[in-house]
Amino acid sequence: MSANDTLNRVLGALGDHVLKMEHPSERRVYLEIAPETVYEASSVMFREICARLMIATGIDTPGGIEVLYHWALDGDDCVVTVRTLVSREKPVLESIAKLCPAAEWIEREIWELLGVEFEGHPDLRHLLLDDNWPTGDYPLRRSHG
């Protein structure tokens, strides 16, 4: 399947969820979505496109906290990154761990290091940091001393 066919298949399935698209190379696509639609979009990527969740990443940007879900389309040699921006004041996203168990640990990590709350996560506790780590202190935020 050509790169364009892949892209059209993904865009067709995600439909109106996509707010913005970047297509820097044939095998790399970035799709921006609203934070409220993360679960639905992930469900489409996982169930309809049958993509594999490679990893999720988070970064504290000047505009807020960005969470990126990197989906591999192995058969098409393509990586689709679905990204969303949440506010630093109230960073809440719906957990996709119940849909895709591979996301469970990385959501725990993003929660403890960047302070993004994942609603509906089955087991949201510390992964890398000590259990006694103070709440509200997120080491990968820009404000961390």
């Binding site: 890398l128 940091l129 000590d130 259990d131 780590w133 080491p139 961390h144």
Partner: protein, 159 residues
């Protein structure tokens, strides 16, 4: 030479505890033990439990989470034992010393008997270090930390 020192200068059972090390020290430790350098011919063997060990070999900087586990392991070590730090990490913390997840290198909160520096140290350095440790023990220049500072032992037991 008393009985305790005598046992520590003969064939040593080594328990290797890697505290999120980058693996280079771990590779060199295996290199020192396996046939090319063959420390095993002197009876230095790896064991699977600290309860069977004479030596606790540390590599890496222990983070806030693993440091607690390390102290628990140390509390289970049969006395007398030696703690040997392999590489620069357990001695100084290297680039991790100011990390948010690091409470300082292990040398700051446990009694380490010998440091074998290097990043990573070569197997030759480990063999040389071991010879020096055994000589120092026999001459009385080195007293194992577990015997010299028994009061510190109690602090290893975690709540």
């Amino acid at each position: 030479m008393n009985y305790a020192i005598n046992t520590l200068t003969r064939s040593l059972n080594v328990f290797h505890l890697a505290g999120s090390a980058c693996n280079n020290c771990d590779i060199e430790i295996l290199d020192a033990l396996t046939p090319k350098y063959d420390l095993e011919r002197f009876g230095v063997t790896l064991v699977g439990s600290i309860r069977h060990a004479d030596v606790l070999l540390l590599s890496g900087v222990f983070n806030r989470k693993s440091a607690v586990r390390m102290k628990e392991v140390l509390a289970q070590a049969p006395k007398p034992y030696l703690v040997i730090a392999i590489g620069g990490c357990p001695a100084t913390g290297l680039m991790f010393k100011d990390s948010y997840n690091c409470d300082g290198p292990p040398s700051e909160y446990i009694a380490i008997d010998a440091f074998i520096p290097g990043c990573p140290p070569k197997p030759e350095a480990m063999i040389s270090g071991l010879v020096k440790i055994i000589e120092a023990l026999r001459s009385g220049a080195l007293v194992p930390g577990c015997m010299a500072r028994p009061e510190q032992e109690a602090s290893y037991v975690c709540q």
